[in-house]
């Protein structure tokens, strides 16, 4: 019984932890005024890249990357001045 309770607590804990994370192409940005978002930079692919790689086409003509720190800070400054 004790083991079951501990497992349940661990599972709930894990669920909460994994919720507070962004995917691998996003950065968690806590603006400091109540807004916590996952920030990502979306880039439309040029014709050249679409032809060149099947992977890019599969993502609907866009690719994503994590923002640089300067980009994330600039976003945060506008979102929560």
């Amino acid at each position: 019984m004790k083991k079951l309770i501990l497992t349940f607590i661990a599972m709930v804990g894990f669920a909460f932890t994994s919720q507070a994370q962004c995917d691998s192409q996003s950065t968690l940005v806590n603006t400091g005024c109540g807004t916590v978002t996952c920030l990502s930079v979306e880039i439309p692919l040029t014709g050249y890249l679409e032809v060149d790689s099947a992977n890019y086409a599969a993502t609907g003509g866009t690719m994503r990357r994590k923002p640089s720190l300067r980009e994330a800070l600039d976003y945060a400054a506008q979102e929560c001045p």
Binding site: I43, L45, R70, E71
Partner: protein, 275 residues
């Protein structure tokens, strides 16, 4: 004769020692609280801590947050948490000697620097007040489109102050503009032997930064004015202006739902009222 030689040697040694001691305590670390209105529509004031370091080589003025970034970046790369925890209202650093000042400022992915002469034309006013226990005298100045009134302490005979306000016969203890947008007040004065990080790039966020660029002062004001009129995605595109494709932010909440962002920029206040 021997006694005289010993006396001379001793005197020279003593003078040397006392000079070393004076040099050691001649540096100043002055903290100013900056109260400011960030936007032209702001009603409430925000506050930030700024630091002025004065050594025999000159002075360095910046935000405490940028000093913290420098300390971290001397040892390791900063993280998003470091960068968010140390956000100054403006990313600028001012290095001055007795005649010239060099202004470094980060705008988006760029970091610019330009030189400016420190030939401020102060008008000394016959008024006194007491600030932090120091007897102060008043002076006024027109600088970069604003009227400034300052209080300086003649008993601290260093001709420096916050930002680029220099040249009074005493440390500037308080200076504010006539519209109440910017107000610097001394909060602490320390003396000691101070060391500053000579690598200016350490004070700025390095990740996503272009190399430092020396620029004409008027060109700098134009770029700054233009950048802060852009909305969030226009700024992102400006930061990535060398890329062929135009990027946009994808912003989601922690559940993966798209979030609407406030894309219209507010008009920012700058110390200089010029563009």
């Amino acid at each position: 004769m021997k006694k005289i030689i010993i006396l001379i040697v001793f005197s020279i040694g003593y003078c040397g020692l006392s000079q070393t001691k004076t040099t050691k305590d001649s540096d100043f670390l002055i903290s100013y609280q900056l109260d400011y209105k960030k936007f032209i529509t702001s009603e409430a004031n925000l506050s930030a801590n700024t630091l002025l370091i004065v050594t025999s080589q000159g002075s360095l003025f910046t935000f405490e947050a940028m000093m913290n970034l420098s300390k971290i970046q001397q040892e390791r790369e900063i993280t998003i948490a470091d960068a968010l925890a140390n956000r100054p209202p403006f990313y600028f650093l001012i290095k001055s000697d007795s005649e010239t000042t060099v202004h470094y400022e980060g705008i988006g992915s760029d970091t610019y620097n330009f030189k400016e002469k420190l030939n401020r034309v102060w008008e000394l006013i016959n008024q006194d007040t007491l600030i932090s226990g120091y007897s102060c005298k008043k002076a006024i100045l027109n600088y970069a489109g604003r009227k400034w009134s300052g209080w300086y302490a003649p008993e601290i005979p260093i001709a420096v102050g916050p930002y680029k306000f220099h040249g009074l016969p005493g440390l500037i203890m308080n200076i504010k503009d006539s519209e109440g947008v910017f107000n610097f007040t001394v909060s602490e004065i320390k003396k000691g032997n101070l060391v500053t990080d000579s690598r200016i790039e350490n004070y700025f966020v390095k990740d996503g930064a272009r190399p430092f660029e020396t620029i004409d002062i008027n060109e700098f004001y134009k770029i700054r004015g233009k950048f802060y009129k852009m909305n969030v995605n226009e700024r992102l595109q400006y930061m990535n202006r060398d890329e062929l494709a135009k990027p946009t932010y994808l912003i989601t909440d922690l559940n993966g739902e798209k979030v609407r962002v406030n894309t219209q920029p507010k008009t920012r206040n700058f110390i200089e009222l010029v563009e």
